[in-house]
């Protein structure tokens, strides 16, 4: 349970600003560098988290990881804030133009971003379900001991899963940087939404995550349309909390894992 996920997203966004807007590198080169950097960073963090000492304090590893990644998230956000104090707004636009459908304007860059997201999620889906490593990760999720007995290396699979997650978060942030204002204050709320999407979707189910993401996204947008953006956060948080209180298993969760 990584509470630093949203801060990886923010890092991705700032990497975009730093590499593309400030250093003026080629966009795809910047993206490539960002992916490599985040992969390396993710690996380092994973090694740190899988150490033995975490188990002792809080009494259980997941809680220790949660706290440590929360602390890590604080550190990363503070570091980003310090390092990028002069950047207030990303003055980057990749793709100009809008498209008019019926009465509304849809900006091109948001369409492209949505398209890329679909491609990435599809890639993730096929990875999890059709490749050997992906299926190993899924097996580890379903029944750790049986998977280990079958010869799956748990450290390797977990590390790869963690790094993929990190990279995707960073890429998400990277691509969003030209579209929306990079704002560090919303990282906490984003982190919570991310975790809620996973938990409401059901841990261990990618389909559930996708479904939950859409549902929560719709609720937030509709609430924003009616009551404004600040109340929309309240609505979606309240909905998420209530849903979780009623059905902790989530939509498609395998089983309720007590940690």
């Amino acid at each position: 349970m990584n509470m630093a996920h949203a801060s990886f997203y923010a890092m991705g966004a700032y990497l975009c600003i730093g590499l593309y807007a400030v250093a003026r590198l080629n966009f795809f080169l910047a993206l490539f560098i960002a992916v490599v950097v985040m992969a390396a960073g993710g690996l380092l963090i994973y090694w740190f988290l899988s150490g033995q000492s975490l188990a002792k304090t809080i009494g259980s590893r997941p809680l220790g990881i949660l706290l440590t990644t929360r602390a890590l998230s604080y550190v990363l956000i503070a570091a980003l804030a310090l390092g990028f104090t002069s950047v207030s707004e990303p003055a980057i636009t990749l793709i100009y133009g809008q498209w008019q459908i019926a009465d509304t304007n849809i900006a091109f860059d948001r369409l492209v971003f949505a398209g890329i997201s679909v491609v990435l999620v599809a890639a993730l889906f096929s990875f999890i379900n059709y490749t050997k490593m992906g299926k190993s990760i899924k097996a580890l999720m379903q029944n750790r001991d049986a998977a280990v007995i079958m010869g799956i290396n748990p450290q390797r699979a977990s590390a790869i899963a963690f790094i993929i997650g990190t990279i995707m978060a960073a890429v998400g942030g990277f691509l969003m940087a030209p579209i929306e204002l990079a704002d560090l204050a919303t990282v906490d709320a984003l982190q919570f939404k991310v975790m809620m999407v996973v938990i409401i979707g059901g841990i261990g189910s990618l389909n559930g995550t996708i479904a939950a993401a859409f549902i929560l996204g719709f609720i937030e947008s509709i609430a924003a349309a009616f009551w404004g953006t600040s109340w929309s956060t309240v609505v979606v948080l309240a909905f998420a909390i209530t849903f979780f209180a009623i059905r902790p298993k989530g939509l498609f969760g395998y089983r309720y894992r007590t940690m």
Partner: protein, 338 residues
Amino acid sequence: MKELPLKLTGTKITVIVIIAVLFFVPIMLSGPLQLRFVDILQMGMIWVIMASSYRLITMTGQLSLAHGAWMAIGGYVTAVLSTTSGGLVNYGWNWWATIPIAIIVTGICALPIGLICLRVKGLYFIFMTFGIALLAQAIITSWTSATGGTDGIASVPSPTLGSINFSGSEGSTAYFYLTFAFMLIALLVIWRVESTRLIQLTDQAIRQNDNLASSVGIRVAKYKVLNFTVSAMLAGLCGSLIAGYNNAVAPSSYLEGLLPIVYVIGGGREVLIGPVVGALAFSGLPELFGIPTGYEPIFFASILIIIITILPGGLASIPSILRRRFSKKEVIMPSQWV
């Protein structure tokens, strides 16, 4: 534990020293040194109350990230009720009268939330409380008619008692002693509750294995919710104190979810003195070392990581570790300290 004779244990000495230092600092220092220390210790004492109340939740084995929300509720209740002019709604209550109201309102909010959140354990509980903290922040930011949104309320008057004005500004030490009094009362309350054998043992049982505790007949839910609510109410008191000190409330000042955890875990979870030491030490250190505001999260996070990896018992476990290292004979450690 009434059977033991009244020994002068190390812990009792620490308590007396701390209280004496806190009491005498404003009197014995003067000038800019006094201003600085009074300021640091002032907030330090409020954090002591916060950390000690947070420890109540950890006594039942849960870690909550929602503590800041309770402080916010308490602070805003005090602020809304007591502003006399220039505020959004001017009820103009006496500050003293707002304190019990703040505590009760916080308790009323915490009770149903505790009931909901405590249905799940460990990881999921942490996360639900994280959501609660965010929800509180979102509500405060959105409900501008009552709370002033992100600007907060800036016209909270200082409390007065007869002719004494307990202002927190201009180096006046009046508020310092006000907070000191509240801190002593809060610690006394917690200590009395903790010394009760029933509460002590029940909490310990729940903390170690709540399924097992429930199977021997302990009403686990009741004690967890009780701890949660009492802890929240004390946090509400903290919020009111901060409101009176700063003469203002704003969303950012309360919702640092990690801070109570750092103070409690850093200071030591097991003993009452732990969060006191942790709060005073860790809130004072950044100021003393002149760590600029942007770097504070790094400082606190590093403390947390260091404590987790090297010193799981927190600062309060240092004496026992030293004792074990340097004592010549077998030392049998008491299972519960002060």
